[in-house]
Every structure is written in C-alpha cells, then in structure tokens.
Amino acid sequence: MTGPENRLWGCRGLRVRYGGTVALDDVTFEVAAGSVAAVVGGDGAGKTTLVRALAGTVRPAAGTVRRPDRRRLGYVSAGPGVWADLTVDENLSFAGRAYGLSADQLEVRVGALLERTGLAAARDRLVARLSGGMRQKLALAMAVAHEPELLLLDEPTTGVDPVSRAELWRLLASAAADGAAVVVATTYLDEAERAASVLVLDRGRALLAGTPDEVLAATPGLVVEGPARPDGVPSWRRGARWRAWSADGSTPPGTSPVSLDLEDAAIVAQLRQDQPRAA
C-alpha cells in the first residue's frame, strides 16, 4: 500500500481555457509529499490558473488533475483569504471547524499555530488591523490548521516585506517537514531556489521544469556579466551591471562568466523560446 509520504499530487497534460483564451496548455507538474514545489512566472503566465486547477476551482479543458480529498487540501488564494472583520482567533477557529477539528483539537492546534506564526500576541485583534505580512501568516496558518496533504499557495509573499517573506518560507518548510506536499506560486525567482522543484510558466506553457540544479544544468551556453551592455548578444540588467547570454559559450569583450541562478535560467529559456535560431 502506498504511504502518504510517497504520494504524488499534480496534473498531467493540463489545459485550461477561459472562453477562447488558453490559460494553460499541456502542463504536467507533480509534487511529492514532504516537499515544496515552486510555480514561477510573470503576470499572465498561468500560475494562478494552475493553482486553481489543482485546488479544483477551475475546470480543466483537457488533462488530469490529481489532488487529495478537499478535507485534506489547504489553500491560500491570491486574495486576502481571511475574514477582515473577524479576529485572528476567530479566523483560525472557523478554518479549524470547517475542516472538522473537534473543540479539543482546535484549542491545541490554534495555540500551536499562533506560537509558530508569531501571532499569539495578536490573537484577539481584528484582521483588518493586521499588517500585510501578518495577514499572510494567518492565511497560511488557516490553510495548515487541519494538517493538509496538499498545500496550495498563490503568491503568498507578494507585497510582503523581506522579513515576513523569510518567516513565511520557514512556515512553508515546516508544513513540508510535517509531510505536506506544498505548491507555491510566486513571481520571485530567488524564492523558487528554496524549493525542491521548480516549474517556470510562460504564457500558459511550461518553460522549465525540474529541481533547481537540473534547471540550471539544462541551460545551454554561458551567462556572462559586465559593467556595460555587451554588443551582439541578448542582455539584461542585474542591479547596476549587465548580464548576457552567450549561446556559443564564448565570452564577449568586457565581460566575465558568472554562475547563473534561476532568474538567469528563466531569462535564457525565454530568449530561446522567443528567438529559436539563437539557440
């Protein structure tokens, strides 16, 4: 018999349409219990649609979605996902009751989650009076109150300060350590590097997929960096400097090779897709 630790959730050949627009096309994605997978992409890439399809709130036009029963699914939507006119405690209690926790279980679980999220001091505060980061931590606490098997988060760190982002990722890692399969949609590629696997979406199609190391290793050519924009190769700004992709592995004048990260890999993949002959 397959134990929970071996379960895989995700989708195969998923296509989602909104009217005549294809939001996702032939996307295959899997996440194992106890691991964190990141879905990365720019605006309109299809991240939210993928998370919603995994959650079951949008209907696939083709393909298969595999998810646990709703009682064992946790979800943090891109919207607030919390009730602003309830207190922190009331929000957590509602989530716990919705997922069938008994009064005793609820008391223990709410106490533990408040401690873990650092919200204990704010438990009687109305959510409307919380900061953005605190709200996101509460939304995450609500989503894990019932210890779900699959935890889906749609851009939980967007608009959140760096300290809160780090804390949210600590909580995500903790949920995975407890055995949950965690899917995080994000626009931040630096965050994606913390995940066990990454799916980069572009205009509804999978651009890159695999572990961060696999994605980096699969990037052809060479990424170089220099103080000025090099001629003759596709380039992009990184801070005050310029990076460029050399398809043939040569080093343009005035640049030197750098070890690439996920952001570079995603940009290169995008360039290869937009300029197939450059590859």
Binding site: A55, T57, R59, A62, R67, D69, W83, E149
Partner: protein
C-alpha cells in the same frame, strides 16, 4: 476639469449597467408607475345577500360591481365575504332597510363607497368593518412590515454574499470542504434570524405605537412572513450571484424593491391600476405579503381565506430560491466536483477533463 470629465465619461460608458439605469430606468419607471399611480377605484366588488338580494343588486349604483347575489345568506355570510377579501362591500337585505357593510381594510375602495353613499340620502349609511375609522396607518403599517423585511431579506443578504466575493473569501470557501448548500444556509441563517427579530419588533411597534389591530392568528401571520422572507432572501442571493460589487448589488436590489413598493397594492390599490401594469403586481411577492398581513392583522382572516397568497409566496419562493441556489452552486464549485466532501475516499481523487470540453 475637462480631463476629469472625460475620464468620468469613459468610466461611465464602460459601466453599462449604471448607464442603463441612468437612461432607461427613469423612462421605464415613469411609464410603469404613471399607469400605476392612481388612488381612484372605479369599480368596487360587492356581494348582496338576504331575501331581497336580487332587487337590491339591481338598484345599486354603477360603482358597486356586484359579483355575487345570495338570497339564502345573511349578515354573517356577508361579514365573512368581506373578511376573506372576496368583496369590499356587502349589502345585507332583510325586513327593514338594507345594511351596507364596507371593508375598512380595503381603504380606497371603502373611502370611495362611503363618500358616494353619504352623498345619496336615499341609500342607507354604510357601516365600516375592521378599520372603522378608515385609518391609513392600520392599512399601511402591515404592508410596511413587508418593506422592512425586503430591506433585511434582499439588501442585507445580497450585500453579505457579495462581500465574500468582493473580498476574495468566496474562493476560500469554495475550496473548503463545504457543500454549496452548507455555505448558503450557513450564510443566510443569521440574516433570517435578524429578520425574524426585526419582524417581531415591528409588529410590536405597529400594534403598540400605531394601534394597528392584530385580529387574526399569529401563526398564519408568521407563516406568511416566513414564506415572504424565503422569497426576499432568495432574491438577495440571486442578486448576489449576478453582482461583482456591493454597489451593483444595491443597484439591483433597488430595482427589485421599487416595483414592489409601488405595484404591490401597498400604496396604490391594485384594482385602480391599468391592466397593463397590474399583472406586474401579481408577480411580486410583496403583493401577497400585503394581502396576508392586512388579512390577518386587520380583518382577522383565517388560514383558509389566505391559502392563495400563501401558496403564491411558496411558489415564488421555490422558483426564486431554486434559481438562486443553482447559480450560487455554480459560482462556488465551477470545477463541477463530482465528490461529496464527506464521501471521497482516502486515496484522493483524479479529475479528468470532460470529454466534450477536451475534444478539439
């Protein structure tokens, strides 16, 4: 200034619902309400009873529209005919001068008959029953209770549900292991509770402050009020399913409330309206609540006399609520879940795209 005006005009042009309300609705309302706005009752339903019923009926003025003559019936039957709203006037013939009984709960009919008969000394003086002083408050307050229930039932419900959508929490509810009916009923119960408390308070205020009689059965009244609430809450949910924002919900709620207030017989008597708009009144729930409330409170009408308006409220409730639940369910579970949250197996579930949707 022009930049501001142009921006506003562009926004207005894209908000087609508001634009339609601003341009078409006033015209529509003026035409409909223009035909409805009349207090003049030309024909008053009349029953004539007693041994000389036939002769008396033949001698009545044109305004009294004789719908039934019953020589074998007496005063008691005549009073029951008024109580059950079969007629607004009953003529009781016998050995002496005929008695003219008028239903004071049918205020405008009663006033027109009383005025006419007082100007004709050869006819007997009318006796007004149920609302002897022809008090407007005795008639308006029971109907206004319906308006208060519309406010609570329709507007509060619509706003409550739309607030979930607008704040993004409806999506959260959709993922939680609730059935659509759990969400809907759970969401509506507090509003229904508040509406019931409201109802008790306004009945008490009506009776104690405005001296409105409460002649009939509180149970029949409660039944009518609950059925009416059922419809108004259903309209509220229906509005919420077609509104993205609370502003849109309020616009639509007002569009359902105005006709109810003006075409239900609450203010203008239905029998005074042009036939072309009167039928609209017969589609509105407040019309039937007004009949039940006035019937029970003012006339003391029994359940049997109010079966039709109660049944109409039940039918309207079933239609509106059924429609709103179907739409709400679609909003809440767009993926068309096939598994009841309490029934799915431990191994999770695979959702495969429907064959037709996936076909090219």
């Amino acid at each position: 200034m022009w930049a501001m005006a142009m921006k506003e005009f562009r926004q207005m042009r894209r908000d087609r619902r508001t634009l339609a309300m601003m341009i078409l609705l006033p015209v529509l309302l003026l035409v409909v309400f223009g035909y409805a706005a009349s207090f003049d009752v030309d024909r008053v339903k009349t029953v004539v009873v007693g041994p000389q019923a036939e002769q008396a009926a033949a001698a009545l003025p044109d305004r009294l529209d004789v719908i039934r003559t019953a020589p074998g019936e007496g005063r008691r039957d005549a009073v029951e005919a008024l109580r059950d709203a079969e007629a607004a006037v009953a003529i009781v013939t016998g050995d002496g001068q005929p008695q003219v009984l008028v239903d004071g709960a049918d205020l405008f009919s009663a006033r027109s008959v009383v005025t006419e008969l007082r100007g004709r000394p050869e006819l007997p003086a009318p006796q007004v029953l149920f609302n002897p002083g022809l008090e407007t408050s005795a008639i308006m307050v029971p109907g206004l209770m319906g308006v208060v229930l519309v406010f609570v039932g329709t507007i509060a419900t619509a706003l409550g549900v739309v607030r979930e959508r607008q704040s993004g929490t409806l999506e959260q509810l959709a993922v939680m292991p609730f059935r659509a009916r759990d969400v809907l009923v759970g969401k509506l119960l507090p509003y229904l509770g508040v509406a019931v408390v409201d109802l008790a308070v306004i009945v008490a205020v009506g009776v104690l402050l405005f001296n409105v009689p409460f002649a009939g059965s509180p149970l029949v009244f409660a039944l009518g009020a609950l059925l009416f609430l059922f419809v108004t809450v259903g309209i509220g949910v229906l509005i919420s399913t077609v509104s993205e924002t609370q502003g849109q919900a309020i616009q639509l709620a007002i569009m359902t409330m105005l006709p109810q207030i003006l075409l239900s017989g609450l203010i203008f008597p239905l029998q005074a309206m042009a036939a072309g708009v009167r039928w609209i009144g017969y589609l509105l729930p407040l019309t039937y609540f007004v009949q039940v409330a006035r019937g029970v409170m003012v006339r003391g009408a029994p359940f049997e006399a109010l079966v039709f308006p109660l049944a109409m409220l039940a039918v309207l409730g079933a239609v509106v609520f059924g429609l709103s639940v179907a739409r709400f369910r679609r909003d809440l579970a767009p993926a068309g879940r096939r598994h009841d949250p309490g029934q799915a197996g431990d191994a999770g579930q695979d959702e495969t795209a429907p064959a037709r949707a996936g076909a090219r």
